[in-house]
Amino acid sequence: MRITRLAPEVKKKETIDIDLTLLDPLIARYKGQKGNVIPLLQGVQDIYGYIPRPAFEKISQETGLELSEMFGVATFYSQFRLAPVGRHIIKVCHGTACHVQNANEITESLEDTLKVKDGETTGDRLFTLESVACLGCCSLAPVMMIGDQTYGKLTGNEAMKIVKNIRISESN
């Protein structure tokens, strides 16, 4: 029996201007090295916050790496993002210790406050909400991380207040 394939989603051309010359030092550093795909992609993500399509194409042209190979690696590892993210990435920990101490409540409360689903970015590109496996601060469970700051022993209400305060300070 034939399985009907889902039609590919036609996406709008990326509107953000990307300065591809930023990639030159990165490519110069890793070109020709064996095992360079992951460090290259990590480098791209450090520059742009995600891996834009033109970056894949440029690296492929200049290093000879196959696009399919790079895309395969980029979609295998959870670290890599293929879409732009918000200015603040909220990582809600869903490790075992956080799970048994009600991490779901944190995610639900934030979904409610930000009006996005887990993994999405708010319309104003201010926040991206993510679930992560374990941040390793199990003694402070439940935990979330925004930027480099870790917030521990949270409740849904507290998480909501923290996010609202960031939004207020950003609009000032």
Binding site: K34, N36, P39, Q42, F76, V100, Q101, C138, S139, T150
Partner: protein
């Protein structure tokens, strides 16, 4: 003149609890008030539940202060340093008197964690004053042969601390036997188990001991290159490892002809992982270092014969490497004096969950799980009833309360259906639903399955669907049997540890908590009151103040009532979302 030292614990958990601010505050006080003490940094001493920690020591003894937030730091420095009057109420550990947490430190045997929290991890000099690099130096000076080093490791009885429990000496012996001009030593620092943070603490607190362990291994198997494969989620560990590597290179501890051993050339680089749990499996890890999708492959050939770039490779975990210098210096017999017949030495556990003292503990093999949880862990939070402990992460299992006298060693833990794993110990109480826990782990392994083996890829999905149904109140007779059948098929037909271990959380919870599955499936009840679709929400008319909060927040408009009059939930409209329960400030929503 006496010298006073003030040391602030700056591990990841300390920093998360605010230790960075505490350090800055003390530093500022020292400068503005021109105070006479030495300010130092250290890493995690394992007492995560009392972070931030500040230790003040002078000629008389040591005082460890707990919960030293910025505000409390001012008070402590003012009283203790300026007025020479230690604040007894804040002291959690001291070698001078019986402080509340003395037992926590004194009941442990610290081999792996011998330096964690006792020295500045960013200083190679401090590591050297604590017998650092003496093990490899001893090998160089006494010209100990490779065979003798391997024999010492074999005699010590140490088994792989990453979870597999394979004898480390044997691994080295195989890697040594395969001759090649190019060989590799890899340190597996891809600690992916949710609820485990031992390796992170060692890397943050004592990176040089891991490097030294790797250097000894490199000598033993004649390796030329070392790789540390570390999770990118551990930025502080990577930073401290990078500093340690630079320092070791500057001192000539890495490079050519190191430690006076002619022809011993060895260097190490760090490879950052990119977030894939399966990369903890050694063949997947190698694929990832090679820059590919981290998928495991069939063994044999084992990495000892054909590993990284198809060359002989020895892979050990962080904790294993941290043991090595101690074994070389103190001898195999001293190490083997700890532990049980088949599991020697100590094991580090990350205690977390519903336990009072979350943190890191190192105990000799052979201690009972109950002692770890109650003597070191300080018992269950809020005096609730201890129900089970989860050992070994997503490939491990749940051990029920009545088996808590099981001793900590590889074989005894395996006999319960759980595994020792890397040492995550998540404690659960009566408010934890075991079906929900099984579902949680299975969801994790399903997401992390690399997709290579059909049984793991599809089987975990099917199992998850059944568990989803059960926790949503749509369980059917026969579900338990179906779960068991799928579980054994997945175990038998998966290539790597991820698939082979994935069903363990489900199998152990069925084995020990079958009644909870039955309650969900047959009686449509969740005894721990966790699975929302199985709960009934009602209002306690006595407690309800009629504040209208639940009514306004109910997304289904299932609540009626008026101000200052008790509200009512219409069961036929209720979607069981739990909003009323979380919004009510008066605990007047009853779950049954």
């Amino acid at each position: 003149m006496t010298t006073t030292t003030v040391t602030v614990g700056l591990g990841s958990c300390g920093i998360a609890a605010g230790a960075g601010k505490t350090y800055e505050k003390i530093k500022a006080m020292k400068e503005t008030e021109k105070l006479d003490f030495i300010l130092k940094k250290t890493s995690c001493v394992g007492m995560c539940y009392r972070e931030p920690l500040v230790e003040i020591s002078d000629d008389s003894g040591t005082y460890l202060y707990g919960d030293v937030t910025e505000g409390r730091a001012i008070e402590v420095i003012e009283k203790h340093i300026n007025q020479k009057d230690p604040i007894r109420d804040y002291i959690v550990y001291s070698d001078l008197f019986d402080a509340p947490e003395n037992n926590f430190i004194d009941s442990q045997v610290k081999i792996v964690l011998r330096n964690c929290g006792y020295m500045d991890p960013e200083s190679i000099e401090e590591y050297e004053t604590r017998e650092g690099y003496q093990a490899i130096r001893k090998i160089g000076i006494q010209k100990i042969s490779r065979a003798d080093v391997i024999q010492t490791i074999l005699d010590s009885g140490i088994r792989g601390r990453g979870g597999g429990g394979f004898p480390t000496g044997l691994k080295w012996k195989f890697a040594n036997a395969n001759k090649s001009a190019e060989k590799y030593v890899i340190c597996n620092a891809d600690e992916g188990d949710p609820g485990a943070f031992m390796d992170r603490s060692v890397l943050e607190g004592d990176p040089h001991s891991v490097l030294e362990g790797m250097i000894v291994a490199a000598y033993a198997i004649e390796a030329t290159q070392g790789v540390i494969y570390c999770r990118a989620e551990y930025p502080l560990a990577i930073k401290r490892l990078t500093i340690a590597l630079e320092q070791a290179r500057d001192k000539g501890y890495l490079g050519k002809n190191i430690f006076g051993i002619e022809g011993f050339d060895f260097d190490i680089y760090i490879k950052e992982g990119a977030g894939a749990f399966v990369c903890g499996e050694e063949t997947a890890l190698i694929a990832s270092v090679e820059g590919e999708r981290g998928m495991p492959r069939k063994r044999p050939p084992f990495p000892a014969a054909s590993g990284l770039w198809k060359k002989p490779t020895n892979i050990n975990n962080v904790e294993t490497f941290a043991n090595i210098p101690w074994i070389i210096l103190n001898g195999a017999a001293a190490f083997a004096a700890y532990g049980t017949e088949k599991s020697k030495g100590t094991k580090v556990f990350a205690l977390a969950g519903k336990v009072n003292h979350s943190g890191l503990v190192e105990v000799p093999m052979g201690m009972t799980i109950r002692d770890v949880i109650f003597k070191l862990g300080g018992g269950i939070k809020k005096n609730k009833k201890f129900k089970a402990v989860q050992l070994g992460g997503p490939s491990g299992g749940c051990i029920p309360e009545y088996l808590a006298d099981t001793i900590v060693d590889y074989d005894s833990v395996n006999a319960t259906g759980a595994i020792m794993g890397s040492g995550g110990m998540v404690v659960m109480d009566e408010t934890t639903c075991m079906v929900d826990v099984a579902k949680f782990f299975l969801n994790f392994t399903r997401k992390e399955s690399c997709g290579k083996c059909t049984f793991c890829r599809m089987g975990t999905m099917r199992m998850l669907e059944i568990l989803d149904r059960i926790t949503n109140g749509k369980g059917k007779e026969g579900d338990i049997e179906n779960l068991e059948e799928l579980a054994y098929e997945i175990k038998d037909n998966s290539l790597c540890g991820l698939g082979q271990g994935a069903p363990n959380p489900v199998l152990t919870t069925i084995k020990y908590f079958r009644n909870e599955y039955v309650a969900h499936i047959t009686h449509k009840k969740c005894p721990a009151k966790v699975c929302r679709p199985l709960l009934t929400y009602t209002v306690d008319p006595v407690k309800c103040t009629g504040c209208l909060v639940c009514l306004k927040n109910c997304p289904a408009n299932a609540i009626t009532g008026e101000r200052k009059l008790s509200h009512f939930i219409h069961q036929e409209l209720c979607t069981k979302c739990g909003v009323c329960y979380s919004k009510c400030k008066f605990d007047s929503i009853i779950l049954t």
